[in-house]
Every structure is written in C-alpha cells, then in structure tokens.
C-alpha cells in the first residue's frame, strides 16, 4: 500500500481550529437567548438544614427561577449508582438538590436561573440558609473507629464497601519466607483539574419534543440514555453533543446533578439554559481521587523473590460512592505490578467522609498501587542486599509466561486478571540507557562533593487498558467530498482521537489522514457506544474503526470491480483511487465509487458525471438495490475486546534535594512506554508527558487540603498548585512496542499511563538523594516543609 499512515507521527487534524480560536467548547456555543445558572452550595461539610428561604432571590430583578428540591417533583431523585457491587452495604449517591442533610462542602442545595451569571450570583446572596452543624467525618482512619460519628446520619457506620480477595496461599508463603517485613504507605487526595471546567447547555424544542444538550461529559451516550428515560423523551429525540472538550482526566465521566438539572430547567422554562461551573465550584463540586492508606506485609526468599503479599488498605470515597468500588478494585488488581507475586491477598475498605465524592481521576488507583509495590521492591532490595534494578528483574513476569493469569482476582471489567503480553526486562534496559543509569553514581558523587544532593529513582507499572464491553464506528465515503467520514460514540477529550482514528481509517482505505473527518461527541452521529475512560478509546474504538473501514474497503473494491469491469483481485486501492494493477489509467476514485454506490446519482459535479460513464456499481438484473444491499459506500463496525489488554512502562528521574530548605527539583526525566502497536507516536508521547506532569503535581505540589471540620483549605489555583512549565523537567521518551495479541491492531491503551509511576519513583529518588541519611519516603505527595521535617528527623548515618 503506498499510503502508510498508521504508526506515523502525523500532525493532528484538530489543531488548526483549536489554534486559531475556532474550537467549540460548551461555553462557546452561541445561545443568545439562554438563561444562566448558579448553584447555592453547602458551606458546611455536614449539617442539617433548618431553613432554606429563596423568596427574596426569586424576587430579584433578572432572576427567572429559583429551585430547591421541593420544586423538582418526580425528578427529586438520587443520582444513579453507576457501577453496583454486592460488597457495598449501603451505597449512597447524591440527590440533585439536597434535602434536609448536606454531606460535603460544595453540595448543591438550590439552583438559581437568571438572565446572566452575574445576576444569578447576586441572587445567591439573597437566599437564606440556616443549618445546625453536625460532626464532620474527614480522617479515614478515625472514621473506622468504634463510636466514630457517621458521614450520613441514617447509616450505621462509614464503611462504603469492604472486599477481601485472595490469590494462591499467602499464609503459606509467609510461613516459607526467609524475609518478612511490613510497611505503611499513603497517597493524598488530588483531582484531574482540566483547564476547562464542566458545563452544560440545554435547549428544549417543545413543539418537536426534542432535547439538545451540549455537555462537557466524557460519556455522552450515558447522558443521552439517562435524560431520555428520566424525562420520558424518545431516545432518538435526545441529542448530546460536545464538539470540543478542554480536558477530561476522568472527572468528566461522572454523572453530576447539573447534568440533569440544567436540561430539566430548559424543559420547564422552554428556554436554553446554560451552566458553566466556575473554578471554585470545580474544586468543591467536581470529583476528586487518590487518598488511600496501605498496610502491606511482604514475604520473600533470601534472594529477593517475592513469595507473597498481604495488603489491607483504606480508600477514601468521599461523601458518596457513585462509581462503586472501581478505584479500589483497580488498585487491588494492579498491586502486584509487572511482578509474578504468586500469592497475595488484598482487603480494602472504602470509607465515607464528609468530603467531595471520589471517582476515577487519570490513573484510577494505579498510582497508589504502583507506589506501594515499587516502594516494597526498593525496601526488599535493601533487605536482601541487591540493587533496585536487580530486585525487579528477579520478580518480573517473563515473556514466555504470557498470557499470565493472576488467578482469582477480577479486574474492572469483571473478568479475571490476565496480562496478555509485555517485555519488562527489555523495557527496563531501554530505560536505564535513556536515563544514563550506569553513569549516575559518578554524577551523584561529583554533586555531593559540591554539597548538592542528587538521587535517581525508577519505577515500573502495568496498566490494564481497553476495557469493554464494546465500541462502534460508522465509516462512510462521502459522496459529495470523497472524504472519509468516521463517527464514533466516543468523545475526544483532547487526546488526539480525531487524528488517531483517522489514521486507522486512512490505513484501511488508502487515503491521507487529513482526508478523514472524524466526528466524536455527537450522539446523533453514532448512537451506540460506551464512553471515553480507562485508556480504552484507541484500543476499542480504534479496532471498531478498522472493522468498519475494512468492510467499506471491501465494498469499494467490489463496486469498483463492476465499474471497471475487472476482477476484484486485480484491483489496488491507493491515494484515494482504485485502479487495475498494472494499468493505473483504468481507475475510479473512491468518491466516484461512493456516488455510483447510490442508485440515485446526483449529477451536480464532475465526479458525478464521470461516475455515470462507468458500468453500474451493482450488476443486478432486477431492482437496482437488491434485497440485502444498501445505498452508499459505508459500513458500521463494532469491536468487543475479550478482556483488558495490559500496557506497561518504566520511568526514571534524577532529582536534587536542597537539604537546607527541603526543596525538590526534577533534574531530568526518562520514560519508556509500551502501549503495543502505536497508531501515532507523537500523540502517545504527548499523552505520556502530560501524565508525567500530572504525576509530578501529585508528588510534590497538588493535594486537596481539608481541615478537621471538612472545610476545603485550598480551593483555588492560588493554593492548589498545578505545576507550571518551570516545575516540570525536560523528558526523554522511548517507545517499546509489544503488540497485544488480543486485538487485530495490537493496540494497548496509553491515556493514563504517564501519571502512574511518578510518586513511586520520586520517593525512590529522594531516598537515594538522601542516602547519607536514613530516610524512607512513605507518604506522597511531599512538599518542601514536610520533606524538610523528614530530613531533620533522620538520624545521620
């Protein structure tokens, strides 16, 4: 094939509009007649509302409506439990608008609709809210103690979920072990913090009973189905669109109260209603993740081969548990990392607290699990007296062991964990070369002589990606432009999906990637699919596009064979043309085939006229469209993966610690990433580098700080410290391609990977930098103050 676009660093189709200010984010959609929403949100973490009087707000000039839960009628509901599981004794989800009890600072209590957001905020100040504070649950360990106050007064305790899982015989492993130790590790709460906040614009056409919703969601089809069923509107009359999304990171997968209330208000008012969350609201109203405390016991041989692990951890789920146990379960399944670990048990308790609800944020439990297992490996290396590289090599799953069955532990897709492929030793070799591992001791010594403390850290991870159940794609050769039209049920959240999927289609159809128009985030373009999350878009949607594109290719060749009066086997497809092999002058363009494939040939342009000069696309004696055939050159394809495919990676960094101030600088960073067959290496590198920056944020800058009463202490970009360019180091990236045997294209997911190993390797690098002191980092993120305290507390060796 002359056009090879798959695997190439093709520049992105979406860039030009985004660079020239012509993107269409939800707040960019022109709606001159729209009214605007502001929410009264709970100022208390846990309280009983004793008075809520909105009458003055309703009278304020410019206010269109003010709603409390009593106004919602049959729609005064709790949001759905997205992923149920029997291990949740009393699963709690949020009401659209609070009743008499609020459970976190930021919970929606009342909704103001006004002629402008300015006026809506004015009206918020006129709402009278009185409440009796109740004890707030914030500390996840204290929450589990006997007699602890409860997050929800109508629940007997704070246990949101409890699950024990076991693989092999861990107790026997501990009996046989030469080396046994235990450790406690923790990671703090953070959040995705996309640069675009969430937003919803809804427009209801009462005459036609059609609801159109522009929503920053990563899951438009979920919203479509939910709104249709809630409001009794036919599925095909609810259209959810999101032309461009300013970053997702998981936060935008969740189903939020405003996503129901704004369309509901648009139906009530018969006017477009817009809600654009502001940044403060995003900090207190959109979901968080990461807080976990792990207590792990390790059993190993004297050679450093891990025989067994016993991990018990507490997971903070916030005030509600809408996403079930997804995060904790992902952490549990990824705890053994790329290592054999034949015996292990994991027991977790998800704990309710009076804080913002917790749902997956890029990484989804993996940064925590990676931190635990990689810290364990570092400790084990010290215990048995080998270096950090060797200890890992002794425990890696080897290439000949794949597919590697973890045993009786289920992944987020509900299927037993089976790691399909990987080359962990080779991956590590490449990493060590990239970070100049061999030369580092000399570099460290030199720096130390100058009074500087350099350290190097490594960490590796595996990531189950590409979860089912399925995705679909509709591929069509457009009869008017000849371009390839690809529609998927997914949204692009900025990761370059429009280009990556274009490359997949272009490869099958012999065209350039920029001649493929990919539409994402429009439920009318492709009404079937799941959503963009869990590093699944390229894997599942990519293969679905390939299936559909291949069918279009075969159809095109069949039609062209008739048109050119040649045998299909004698035809080639390249550069948008189908020609007879050896006689390229005998050709038709894909556009001409598309025109000819429709018995009604529009004859308005040269191609249409040309198409009529060929023999018909179909050779039928009877009707021109025989039974079983369809007009148009198009196909719909689906792909459903057998189970998750496992990507992997290894990262390393050199850091410098200022022992006088506790400041940390990332000196350089290297990453080797294996996401199977790469569709576009430029896009994958971008994904990894962005993830690393988030990981750096989660290692030394970002944490969601709460005080003892459940008040947020840093709900702004002034105090929640997303790193700037000045905090993120230069990175060197290398690709390793171990194609997944599970799908035709060999693709594994890449979206979340970058952030996973950063806290683990940062901890490792700090330990190394402070090797003169007896320091072990066990809690992430750090900051200069906490690192300085650790340095000061260390007994100098």
């Amino acid at each position: 094939m002359s056009t090879r676009v798959f695997g190439k660093p093709i520049r992105r189709n979406e860039d030009e509009r985004l660079l020239t200010g012509l993107g269409s984010y939800v707040d960019d959609i022109s709606a001159p007649t729209a009214v605007h929403v502001a929410f009264l949100r709970s100022p208390e973490a846990h309280a009983r509302i004793v008075k809520l009087d909105v009458s003055r707000a309703r009278e304020h000039p410019g206010v269109v409506a003010v709603y409390t839960h009593t106004d919602l009628g049959e729609h005064d509901i709790e949001l759905p439990l997205m992923i149920p599981h029997p291990c949740m004794p009393y699963p709690k989800t949020q009401r659209l608008l609070a009743h008499d009890e609020v459970h976190y600072v930021g919970q929606t209590i009342a909704m103001v609709v006004a002629e402008s957001r300015y006026v809506a905020e004015d009206a918020l100040e006129l709402i009278e809210l009185d409440y009796d504070p109740l004890p707030a649950v914030v500390d996840i360990e204290a929450a589990l103690e006997d007699g602890a106050s409860t997050t929800h007064t109508d629940s007997p305790g704070n246990v949101g979920a409890h699950l024990e899982q076991k693989v092999g015989d861990p107790d026997a492993a501990f009996r046989e072990a030469d080396v046994v130790f235990s450790e406690r590790y923790s990671i703090e709460r953070s959040a995705g913090m996309a640069m675009e906040t969430r937003g919803v614009l809804a427009d209801y056409d009462a005459r036609r009973q059609e609801l159109t919703v522009w929503d920053t969601t990563q899951a438009p089809l979920t919203i479509k189905g939910s709104l249709g069923s809630l409001f009794g509107i036919p599925y095909n009359k609810v259209r959810v669109k999101q032309p461009d999304i300013g970053g997702g990171f998981g936060t935008k997968v969740m189903f939020y109260p405003d996503e129901v209330l704004v369309p509901w208000a648009a139906i009530q008012l018969e006017r477009p209603v817009k809600y654009i969350e502001d940044r403060i609201e995003h900090f207190i109203g959109s979901t968080h993740e990461r807080k976990q405390i792990h207590d792990i016991e390790v059993a190993a041989t004297a050679d450093g081969v891990v025989l067994g692990l016993r991990d018990r951890f507490i997971h903070d789920t916030g005030a509600y548990i809408p996403y079930g146990i997804a995060i904790a379960q992902v952490a549990a399944t990824q705890l053994p990392g790329p290592y054999r670990v034949p015996n292990f048990s994991v027991e977790f308790t998800a704990v309710y607290t009076n804080t913002v609800p917790v749902t997956p944020y890029r990484g989804c439990g993996r940064p925590q699990a990676c931190m635990v297992i990689e810290r364990v490996m570092d400790r084990l290396a010290t215990e048995v007296g080998v270096d950090r590289v060797e200890i890992r090599r002794r425990n890696y799953i080897q290439p000949e062991e794949f597919p590697y069955h973890r045993g009786d532990i289920l992944f987020a897709d509900g299927l037993p964990v089976t790691i399909d492929s990987g080359q962990y030793d080779k991956q590590l070799d490449l990493l060590l070369e990239t970070i100049d591992w061999e030369d580092f001791p000399a570099e460290k010594e030199q720096a130390r002589a100058e009074g500087r403390y350099l350290g190097i850290g490594i960490a590796n991870y595996v990531e189950g990606t590409g979860l089912g159940p399925y995705e679909g794609a509709h591929v069509q050769i457009e009869p008017t432009t000849g371009k390839v039209w690809v529609a998927t049920g997914l949204t692009s959240i900025g990761q370059g999906l429009e280009t990556a999927l274009a490359q997949v289609a272009a490869e099958e159809l012999g065209v350039e990637a920029h001649d493929v128009l990919v539409v994402t985030g429009d439920t009318q373009a492709m009404p079937w699919g799941v959503a963009t999350f869990a590093s699944r878009a390229a894997v599942v949607s990519g293969n679905a596009v390939a299936v559909a594109a291949l069918e279009v290719r075969n159809k095109a060749l069949g039609y062209a064979a008739n048109m050119l009066e040649a045998a299909t086997d004698d035809l080639e497809l390249a550069d948008g043309k189908i020609f007879v092999r050896g006689a390229p002058e005998r050709h038709v363009t894909l556009k001409q085939v598309a025109i000819a494939s429709n018995p009604l040939r529009y004859a308005f342009d040269d191609d249409a006229r040309a198409a009529t000069q060929f023999a018909p696309a179909r050779r039928a004696d009877g009707p021109q469209l025989p039974p079983g055939e369809e007009p148009g050159l198009e196909a719909t394809g689906y792909y459903s993966p057998p189970h998750a495919t496992w990507a992997s990676g290894a990262h390393a960094a050199v850091v410098e610690v200022d022992i006088a101030t506790g400041e940390l600088t990332y000196v350089r960073y290297a990453a080797v990433h294996d996401c199977g067959t790469v569709i576009n290496p430029m896009i994958v590198e971008g994904q990894v580098m962005g993830g690393v920056a988030q990981g750096i944020g989660g290692s030394f800058y970002e944490r969601m700080a709460y005080d003892d009463t459940g008040q947020r202490r840093n709900a702004s970009f002034m105090d929640f410290l997303v790193p700037y360019a000045t905090e993120v180091p230069a990175m060197r990236l290398e690709h390793l391609e171990t194609p997944s045997p599970l799908n035709p294209k060999g693709i594994k997911g890449a979206g979340e990977a970058g952030c996973i190993p950063v806290p683990a390797l940062t901890a490792s690098a700090i330990d190394d930098a402070l090797s003169d002191l007896d320091v072990t980092i066990r809690d992430m993120p750090l900051d200069p103050c906490s690192l300085k305290a650790i340095i000061d507390a260390a007994p100098t060796r």
Binding site: Y118, E121, E125, M718, D719, L721, D783, P784
Partner: protein, 269 residues
C-alpha cells in the same frame, strides 16, 4: 465567580481622584492594575460600593532616576520598572525582586503603587522598600506628605495611609558605591507568593534585611545573624508550611542573601 455590582469612577485627574477618595472614603476601593483586587472582587471576597480606577492618571506613570534614588509614579507597571535599565543601574535590587513577582503577564498590568498600597506581607516590593529604607509620597485634598517605609506598613494588608489619601510615588534609594544587594525567596512554584523571602542590602559594613511572608508586615533586621533574623520574625502556619519551617527558611535565606550581596559588593567595589 463574577464580581458584585459597583459604582465605577475613572477620574481624569489626580485632583478628581482625590476628591472622590475624600467623598467616598473606605466605601471605595482604588483600582490600579487590579491584579490583586480583581481576583478578590471575582470571588466576592471584596464587594466595595465603588471603584476609583486610576487608569487615566498618566501623571502617575514615571520613573525618575536620580543619583540618590529611583522615584516611581504609583501607576507605573511592574514591567515598565523591570525594563528600566536606568533604574536597574541605580538599584539592582528592584529588578531582581520584580522578576519574582508573579508572572510577566501579571506584571504587565500590576502597578508599583498598587503592590505597595496593598501591603501584602507576602509580596516582594514592600520588603525591598523596607530593606532599602525607601519612602513613599501620599496625597489627599489636604496636601502631600511623605511616609518612610518603616512607618508605612502597619499590619496585614494595612498601611498608615488615611482613608482620603492616595499613594502617588514610591522612592527606592539608590545603592551606594561599593554596596551590594540581593533578593532571594523560596516559593512553592515559580511566581507564587514566597514561603519566605529576603531583601538584603550590604553597605559600608552594615547589613540590612527585610523578610517577606514571615510576619504581618515586612520584617526588618539589621545584621547578618541567621538566628537573630529568625527570632525577629513571627510567621504563622498555613497549608503550605509551618511557622517553624518558615523560620528555618529565614535562617537559610539570611546566609544566602547576605553572602550573595557581599559577593556582589566586592565585585562592584
């Protein structure tokens, strides 16, 4: 995050501005560059009844460099002063500190007068002014007076200006021949308010230090003893650092800033 309504005044002259200030008193906030005020308005942490916008007062935009001082009109932007080579020659401490004030885009709008009058103890310029022993001019309908930097800052976000007074000029003493200066700070991210910062001037064997972020006002210390400097401060705990840690930073910054200023003094002297 939209500001509450306010009356808006944009006086054409300083006299008109003074009249408004006199009439409206504490009900009105003065809008200079707005880089500190507007975020507070957007978050509705401040809801003044009126704003007096000084943007039309070109008479307050100047940088006069004399032998003994750099006199800066209050509406001069950080960037204008940062770019002034003459100001840099006379008093290098200014540019060094300004480079640490937020980010370039903020400095394009932020004004010297606004920063000083805002009296944020975590800001860089007040410490620079105190370390240098500078002074400001303030005006009201009642007349003009000078306030020494040492008397200007009275508490968090509070100065000794009367409600009817406007800050019109900031005067930074020029660095003497053979003297050296340094501004160092430790912040969480580049451009953030410092966890602690130090402005240092070494001249004729005297060492003058003023610290940011470790008390309700810039903390002035004479001498180069890190422990004495730390003892003079009164930092508090916040989400970014403890008071003890900030005292430790004061010790480190004292050594480093004094060392650097002395090094520079030797080079120039």
């Amino acid at each position: 995050m939209k500001p509450a309504p306010f009356e808006y005044h944009a006086p054409e002259t300083l006299d008109e501005a003074l009249r408004l200030k006199s009439e409206l008193g504490p009900e009105a906030s003065v809008l200079a560059g707005g880089q500190s005020l507007v975020p507070m308005l957007n978050m509705r942490l401040a809801s003044p009844e009126a704003l007096i916008d000084l943007r039309k007062l070109d008479e307050l935009r100047y940088i006069n460099v004399a032998d003994d001082a750099v006199a800066v009109g209050a509406m001069t932007t950080h960037r204008a002063l940062e770019r002034s080579d003459a100001a840099y020659s006379a008093c290098p401490l200014i540019r060094e500190a300004l480079g640490l004030v937020a980010h370039a885009v903020v400095r394009n709008r932020g004004t010297i007068g606004g920063s000083v009058a805002h009296a944020d103890p975590a800001a860089e310029l007040p410490s620079v002014l105190v370390a240098l022993g500078g002074k400001v001019k303030v005006r009201s309908l009642r007349g003009e007076r000078e306030i020494a930097a040492a008397d200007l800052f009275t508490f968090h976000f509070t100065t000794s200006l009367e409600p009817d007074e406007l800050l019109t000029e900031i005067s930074f003493p020029a660095l003497e021949q053979g003297a050296g200066s340094a501004f160092l700070e430790i912040s969480r991210r580049h451009g953030d308010y410092a966890l602690a910062g130090a402005a240092c001037v070494v001249s004729n064997g005297n060492t003058r230090l003023a610290f940011t972020g470790v008390g309700p006002i810039p903390v002035f210390v004479e001498g180069d003893d890190p422990d004495a400097a730390a003892a003079a401060t009164s930092p508090s705990d916040d989400i970014h650092a403890t008071a003890d840690y900030r005292r430790q930073l004061v010790r480190v910054l004292t050594s480093r800033a004094v060392g650097l200023a002395r090094e520079r003094a030797q080079v120039s002297g």
